[in-house]
């Protein structure tokens, strides 16, 4: 029925996606060429990334509940069922909306362009919920996802052709189109309850910036709430999946151990951020610059961006040498944007997008060097 000439021929690729999801296909090697193939396929590779994000997702649900209960002044322990259920109540709808909105766009394009549905969206659909606050209106999630998939990917020709990271494009869209829902005191889901006195809902980056303009010491302003260990563990306000450096690192371990994410990029983003932090320490013009460099690694979305965003193979540099340069520059730019232009506290988002644009240029020079080596030994 779905085959060529069948009644529902137009929906073939939709059918194919469903069928191959249930059963891996019976296709065999062609007559000429390799007769056996590696056991990997794109579905498995993408699912590896999704699996690597699950610790962050679960932690994010606990944290959403925890932040709520702390903000409204109710006694709570972090790992309570209450926190998990509260978190799930607010986080899972975002995940569902993201997958549904993006999935529909993917399916429409697959049908119109007559190509199979690519599995890349399995990852994008999970990334987007993890980088937005739990308070975000669902319609904005849908809109941002559609914008990201359309503008970030499909207009460039679909999966594999995109220049920008799709999830980061969605995040940037939200940031510039609906700033009031994604900056300020939006990080804690209050669920219509009144917060306790003194509740600010600010993130560590905002606190650091404020104390810096006031001329105080950043580390003492961050206080106990945003102590290094708290920031590392992630029991702080922030986007759903990005607060816990620990669980991001667990994800990083999965990506590196499976070889699906480039360890070069992950290491170099952290390295670049630390180097830039250290340079600022040396300059020390304002208190924010004086903040110890290692704080940068656990604040905001830097770790999450380094592990899950910068490593997107399509939008990153494609050459191994290029990956080092690409990663270091992302790390340095993130901290530079954070410290020098705190109007954009989330430097990693802009840094990743900027370096996505420059990645082909980095590759260009790496490839050019290869061509020159080849040309140099030629005699004609």
């Amino acid at each position: 029925m779905f085959e060529k000439g069948g009644k529902l021929e137009k929906l073939y690729y939709l059918f194919e996606a469903g069928e191959t999801f249930m059963f891996s296909p019976a296709s065999t090697a062609k007559n000429k060429g390799v007769q056996v193939r590696d056991a990997i396929d794109l579905k498995r590779m993408m699912m590896t990334v999704v699996i690597a994000m699950i610790p962050c997702l679960i932690f994010g649900m606990f944290n959403t509940g925890y932040q709520h209960h702390v903000a409204v002044g109710e006694a709570t322990t972090f790992l309570s069922l209450d926190n998990l259920l509260f978190g799930a109540r607010w986080v899972l709808p975002i995940v569902l909306v993201s997958y549904a909105a993006g999935g529909i766009i993917e399916a429409i394009f697959a049908i119109v362009r007559k190509h199979p549905i690519n599995e890349g969206f399995l990852v994008t659909g999970m990334l987007i919920p993890l980088i937005v606050p739990a308070t975000i209106p669902l319609w904005q999630v849908a809109l941002a996802t559609i914008f990201g998939v359309l503008v970030g990917k499909e207009i460039f020709g679909g999966t594999g052709m995109n220049i920008l990271n799709v999830a980061m494009t969605s995040r940037a869209f939200l940031y510039f189109a609906y700033p009031s829902q994604i900056s300020g005191a939006v990080w804690t889901q209050l669920a219509d309850k009144t917060p306790v006195d003194g509740f600010t809902g600010a993130t560590a980056l905002a606190v650091a910036y404020d104390s810096s303009t006031a001329g105080g010491d950043v580390v003492s302003a961050l206080g106990d709430t945003f102590s290094f260990s708290n920031l590392f563990m992630g029991m702080v306000p922030g986007s759903i999946g990005e607060t816990s450096t620990l669980w991001v690192l667990v994800g990083a371990l999965i990506l590196i151990a499976t070889g699906v994410g480039s360890w070069k990029i992950i290491v170099s983003v952290f390295g670049g951020a630390f180097i830039m932090g250290a340079i600022f320490n040396a300059a020390g013009i304002n208190p924010f610059m004086d903040m110890p460099a290692h704080y940068h690694l656990v604040m905001g979305g830097l770790a999450f961006g380094a592990v899950f965003m910068a490593t997107d193979p399509v939008s990153a540099a494609h050459t191994e040498t290029g990956k080092w340069i690409y990663g270091i520059l992302i790390g340095m730019l993130s901290v530079l944007i954070r410290v020098v232009n705190p109007a954009y506290p989330e430097g990693i988002m802009l840094a990743v997008l900027l370096m996505n644009v420059f990645a082909p240029l980095i590759d260009f020079y790496v490839i050019q060097a290869n061509k020159k080596r080849r040309l140099a030994r030629a005699t004609v």
Binding site: N31, G33, A39, M161, T258
Partner: protein, 455 residues
């Protein structure tokens, strides 16, 4: 000076069913075939015989109109029983029913001292006429060499790292003199060096050790360390405008025998191997032999794929098909036309993967585990997504992904600048194996080569 080169990149595919060093009691195929499709780049094959003609081993059967002096000759004596044609009367197979005892066309034979005095032109004329010339493959492009060229070097790899590959030294035992004579003939064709490239981790076999006045290089590393293209890249790369020739050791020995014995000797040892073969071992046959007798009663089950050659670069043939001109092995693996419930996420330990993505545990099995792989593609065609893996299995200073993308977009300048002169299909075959997105890498490489040839 001879070199030792240690390569790290690459991947060994360790399959079950290796041929043991034993030659089966003589089972000779009844029919043989010459297939124009075996010769990459042959444009317009022209037949010189008709059905019913009686021929000898070494009688010209066909030639390519684009290269009229190179004769493709019969491996055995007998009768032309069928010329199988495809669409547009394209010649697919010229089938020969073999005599019980082989009669040979006789060519001039030379004593070792005469060979030294033989001119290039005389040697060339005999090689072109007698059917041994197609053993000489030219780089770039991987096509039968042009007889008017003088290559800057000649490269011969004495070991094969392909999965289940026949042991080259074993198949050439007793051919010491023929091999030496072959090298002496080849010396007439180049002012440059002849490189004999050995496996660093094995003793150099007797047949290769005794050859003097040439370069003996050694290579180590996983597949494709044994590929002559990879070796050339590290010894003396092919640049734009260069011509380099490559031969298999078998081809060298065959050339040698043409001059020392005055006949076109197409006999060869063929490894019959693969997980579905009951007793994987060597068989004595001639080039282009029918496989039916080799597999009869020797296969564990019915649902198998017969491959002329190895699993990376070979070609699927039918049960009544013929080995290709260059093949020294017949590999039999299970056909993989089965679906698998949730096969894309189920954990797997017994299927080989270069990757370690979720649920692929083959890296934990160690290097000595032998795998039974079938012909299933394990996934569908997708866009290029993963980066960096092709480079990990290509021990050359080449960026395969960029080269392939340049080929796809027919970007002539970049195809050339990114190294198309240095690769043929087999050099990037591993990329095709490990590819997450299941591209036909080898087919794309050939398209790139044709783009440059016709450009």
């Amino acid at each position: 000076m001879s070199k030792i080169i240690k390569l790290k990149k690459g991947f060994d595919i360790n399959l079950a069913g290796k041929a043991v060093h034993k030659i089966a009691d003589s089972i000779y195929p009844e029919t043989f075939a010459i297939k124009p499709t075996d010769f990459v780049g042959m444009k317009r094959p022209k037949l010189l015989v008709n059905e019913g003609d009686n021929i000898k081993a070494g009688t010209p059967i066909l030639f390519d109109k684009m290269q009229e002096n190179v004769m493709y000759c019969s491996p055995v004596s007998g009768e032309i029983v069928e010329v199988k044609r495809g669409a547009k009367r394209k010649i697919l197979e010229v089938k020969i029913l073999a005599d019980k005892t082989i009669e040979y066309e006789s060519f001039q034979s030379y004593s070792p001292s005469d060979i030294n005095g033989l001119s290039r032109n005389d040697a060339q004329a005999q090689m072109l006429k007698a059917g041994v010339w197609p053993n000489i493959i030219q780089r770039p492009f991987g096509i039968v060499a042009n007889e008017n060229d003088s290559p800057k070097a000649i490269h011969i790899s004495t070991f094969d790292t392909h999965p289940l590959a026949a042991d080259v030294a074993f198949t050439l035992q007793g051919e010491e003199d023929a091999f030496k004579t072959g090298i002496n003939i080849l010396k007439k064709f180049t002012d440059g060096k002849i490189h004999l490239n050995h496996d660093l981790n094995a003793e150099v076999a007797k047949v290769f050790a005794g050859v003097d006045n040439i370069e003996h290089n050694k290579f180590s590393g996983p597949h494709p360390a044994g590929n002559v293209g990879v070796q050339i890249h590290h010894l003396d790369p092919v640049n734009k405008g260069d011509i380099v020739w490559t031969l298999t050791p078998y081809g060298v020995a065959q050339i040698g025998k043409l001059f020392s014995q005055g006949k076109y000797d197409a006999s060869r040892l063929v490894a019959v191997c693969g997980s579905e073969v009951k007793t994987p071992q060597y068989y004595k046959t001639y080039s282009g032999g029918a496989i039916n007798k080799l597999v009869e009663g020797n296969i564990k089950q019915d649902h198998v794929r017969y491959i002329s050659g190895n699993v990376l670069t070979g070609e699927k043939i039918e049960k009544d098909g013929y080995l290709s001109f260059y093949a020294n092995s017949l590999t039999v693996i299970p056909e993989g036309d089965h679906t698998e419930f949730l096969g894309w996420i189920m954990p797997k330990k017994n299927v080989l993967s270069f990757h370690r993505a979720w649920g692929l545990f083959s890296f934990m099995n160690g290097k000595n585990k032998e795998y039974v792989l079938d012909s299933n593609t394990n996934g569908e065609d997708r866009a290029f997504v993963q980066t960096g893996t092709f480079e990990k299995v290509t021990p050359m200073d080449v960026y395969p992904t960029f080269l392939l993308k340049a080929i796809l977009s027919e970007d002539f300048d970049n195809v050339e600048a990114l190294g198309i002169y240095e690769v043929i299909e087999e050099d990037l075959a591993l990329c095709e194996f490990v590819d997450v997105s299941k591209h036909d890498v080898q087919h794309m490489v050939r398209e790139g080569i044709e783009l440059i040839q016709n450009g």
